[in-house]
């Protein structure tokens, strides 16, 4: 009886030591939480969430200072992913922060632009090129559609154009079938 108990205790101690060692030696360097949240956010950098960019918002969520439903560009899907990641309840998008819109890019009316460079300073991703008193233009591929350049423009020559679907971006629909009622 005693030997049995001793043996079992011995085995338990050895295994415990092995496990303890393994947990130190093979520690997985996990993504810090802020990085994981930032990876879900759409990186539009629009500030609609109330923070100056996606990463500050991610930091605020991780610190428990912000709700997960404040990012309109991320939309419902983004909130769901955040809820999954953080183990929180899903909530609909908070209305005071905005509404989900189809993706768009900003376009400058080059005839009207006076070259004041204000939009360049507003663009969070440097997607506008131009110089003082020269016509400005937007690099569509880099524009995130944040709309931050719209307000500063003194001649209101920037407008948002929705991105049209092309064959390269078209998606097959989820298969749906009409279910007939049995007679």
């Amino acid at each position: 009886m005693l030997t049995a108990i001793l043996i079992m205790t011995g085995i338990a101690l050895v295994l415990g030591a092995v496990l303890g060692f393994a947990s130190i030696k093979f520690k997985v360097e996990g993504d810090p939480l802020v990085d994981q949240i930032d990876a879900i956010l759409p990186q539009t950098q629009c500030g609609q969430c109330g923070f100056p960019g996606c990463r500050p918002y991610a930091t605020a969520i991780a610190g428990g200072e912000a709700e997960i439903n404040q990012c309109p560009p991320g939309g419902e899907e983004g909130i769901r992913k955040l809820a999954d990641l953080l183990g929180r309840e899903f909530k609909p998008l908070s209305e005071e922060h905005g509404v989900e819109k189809p993706k768009a890019v900003a376009v400058i009316d080059e005839e009207t632009c006076i070259g004041c460079t204000l939009c360049i300073q507003a663009c969070p991703v440097d997607a506008i090129v131009g110089a003082a008193k020269q016509m400005h233009t937007i690099i569509a591929a880099d524009c995130t559609g944040c709309e931050l350049c719209l307000a500063p423009c003194p001649v209101d020559c920037i407008s948002m154009e929705p991105i049209a679907e092309t064959v390269d971006t078209w998606k097959w629909r989820y298969p749906v079938f009409t279910i007939k009622q049995a007679a």
């Binding site: 930032d38 956010l41 759409p42 990186q43 539009t44 950098q45 960019g53 996606c54 990463r55 663009c123 969070p124 991703v125 440097d126 997607a127 880099d142 995130t144 679907e165 092309t166 064959v167 971006t169 078209w170 998606k171 097959w172 629909r173 989820y174 298969p175 079938f177 279910i179 007939k180």
Partner: protein, 570 residues
């Protein structure tokens, strides 16, 4: 000699329906009223339009230039007037539009000047550029630009060139008829390809349900006297015409997941592609027409030589569409895609227009739950587990679906064909694939945006810092200077014994302002016209005259209006 053939995994044997459309020879199609030629017809970049509305074009004139290396040119299929260059509905399930050139034929069908090349004396790079500009793409359905595949790997030579004449999909017979009628010319194209690839042997795989085509190709090979080219009859089983499947059957090589056949010394082309390469090299004709099978709900199924851009209903009318037609399918019943309209144009990818009706293709019975019978996995020629991929696609669990090699699925439809629960498996796989692509695009865009945002912040910080440093350095320099002056003045004052020994803060500031103003004055005085040193005496005299006028008008602005020279002589 009987060649040893191999087996591929899975496959099915649907009813072939091929006899009906092989009874009569390939027929020409009268010119339609209007050709709609989409500029984007191959895998890769979108060609740029080279014509404008109102231009007259020849048959075979290039109207779209290849955009980069992964792209292929597009040509006018007949002579006529360019009516417009606008987005038009394309032959794609989505019903979306794409930039197209609309040509009104003038009826002359006149060729422009045709340029031929001798493939034996032309360097391979030039040949590839020539084929790109001739718009040669794979005609088996994938429309991959052929010039990119005509490169003999790293070793400089290829082991086996496989020519795909299997044509395994039901209803389609365009390759069969091509081999029966044009085997000799097709073989010349194959010889050119073999030369470009330096291939040791050529195997032409043809399903054994096409004995006439096999005989015709064999006769052509015998007549040409070439060695190392063989037409091989392979067992009829769908999808023997898939590239990986055909390579497996003919050579026994199993191309693993995520590898390409060139890594194993094999390259595969369609018979139609070989024929169009012959046309381009030896006749100078770019790819402006192709053979199209019209079958299904029509009176006389047949093959037609159709100009690219011809509306589909124009061709179907010749075959006599029957009542009850409710859709056109481009391609066959297994892999084909439903067209959004009847008048979409025939493009390079159109091997068959399958005319459908509810009687011919009744709506599928309702989908039932998967019973995990494993039939789909047994039928899958890519050796996948369709029921697993289906399970995860249905749950939109795309990462898991990818783990089951979703992207190795060739969308052949064998799994849907055998599924006892009538699950449209391929629809789920297409859905999953396009969702995954979309997510990848989004993620890429987000990553770029994140980098650019971080860089902008970094840049702003850096600029702020640089500005501050510059200001600090400047301020320090001036302070030093003023300090030196001030101490000199202070010393002078101290020696006279009247002023305070130390300049007050006000004095220092005033001194700073004065120094700045003095500097500005000096700078103004220094502004001199440049580039006058090397001027000729005549030019210098002119400058002097202008200067004099300027002085006059500066002193008497009203006397000398700028449009009249000052009347110095008066």
């Amino acid at each position: 000699m009987l060649r040893k053939l191999f087996n591929f995994h899975g496959g099915v044997k649907p009813a072939t329906h091929k006899e009906e459309s092989t009874l009569s020879p390939i027929a020409p199609v009268p010119l339609p009223d209007r050709l709609v030629i989409p500029l984007h017809q191959s895998v890769g970049g979108h060609p740029r339009p080279l014509v404008q509305p109102g231009d007259r074009v020849f048959k075979g004139q290039r109207i779209g230039a290849a955009d980069g290396s992964l792209s292929s040119a597009v040509h006018a299929s007949t002579s006529g007037l360019v009516r417009d260059v606008v987005p038009a509905v394309m032959p794609h399930t989505s019903g979306l539009t794409t930039l197209s050139v609309i040509i009104e034929p003038d009826g002359d069908d006149r060729w422009g000047e045709l340029e031929r090349v001798n493939f034996r004396s032309t360097p391979p790079d030039e040949l590839r550029d020539f084929l790109r500009d001739a718009g040669i793409v794979g005609l088996g359905g994938a429309v991959f630009p052929s010039h990119l595949k005509l490169k003999p790997g790293k070793e400089g030579a290829l082991q086996t060139l496989v020519i795909n004449g299997a044509e395994c999909e039901p209803f389609i017979t365009c390759d069969d008829m091509l081999m029966r009628e044009r085997a000799g010319d097709m073989l010349k194209g194959i010889i050119a390809m073999r030369h470009m690839l330096q291939a040791r042997e050529v195997l032409i795989g043809i399903e054994d349900n096409k004995p006439q085509a096999i005989a015709a190709v064999q006769a052509a090979i015998a007549a040409s006297g070439e060695t190392g080219i063989e037409a091989v009859a392979i067992p009829t089983r769908y999808p023997a015409g898939g590239a990986k499947q055909l390579i497996r059957v003919l050579t026994g090589i199993e191309v693993p997941h995520g590898r390409r056949s060139t890594d194993f010394g094999v390259q595969c082309f369609n018979v139609g592609t070989a024929y169009s390469i012959f046309e381009a090299l030896e006749r100078g004709r770019p790819l402006i027409s192709r053979i199209v099978t019209v079958a299904g709900n029509v009176d006389a199924p047949r093959n037609y030589e159709v100009l690219i851009g011809t509306p589909m209903d124009h061709v179907v009318r010749l075959a006599g569409a029957r009542a009850g037609t409710d859709r056109y399918i481009m391609g066959g019943p297994m892999m084909g895609a439903r067209m959004p309209a009847f008048d979409v144009p025939v493009v390079k990818a159109t091997n068959c227009i399958l005319v459908g009706s509810p009687a011919l293709f009744p709506p599928p019975p309702p989908e039932m739950p998967c019973i995990r019978c494993g039939e789909c996995a047994k039928a899958c020629p890519a050796d996948l587990a369709p029921f697993e991929m289906y399970w995860h696609s249905r749950a939109k669990n795309f990462g898991k679906a990818q783990e089951y090699h979703l992207f190795d699925c060739i969308e052949c439809g064998c799994c849907s064909f055998v599924c006892p629960s009538h699950i449209p498996l391929v629809d789920y796989f297409r859905f999953s694939k396009s969702e995954i692509w979309a997510r990848e695009r989004e993620k890429e865009a987000a990553d770029t945006a994140r980098d650019r945002f971080e860089f902008k912040n970094f840049r702003q910080e850096r600029e702020k810092q640089e500005k501050a440093e510059k200001l600090a350095a400047k301020a320090a320099a001036t302070r030093e200077k003023v300090g030196a002056d001030g101490s000199a003045a202070g010393a002078a004052a101290a020696s006279s014994g009247t002023a305070p020994a130390k300049p007050s803060g006000d004095d220092a500031k005033r001194a700073l302002i004065e120094a700045a103003m003095e500097k500005a004055r000096q700078q103004k005085a220094q502004v001199q016209p440049k580039n006058t040193d090397a001027a000729t005496p005549a030019v210098q005299a002119e400058i002097a005259a202008i200067e004099a006028r300027r002085q006059v008008s500066a002193t008497h602005p009203t006397d000398a209006p700028p449009d009249r020279p000052p009347s110095s002589g008066a």
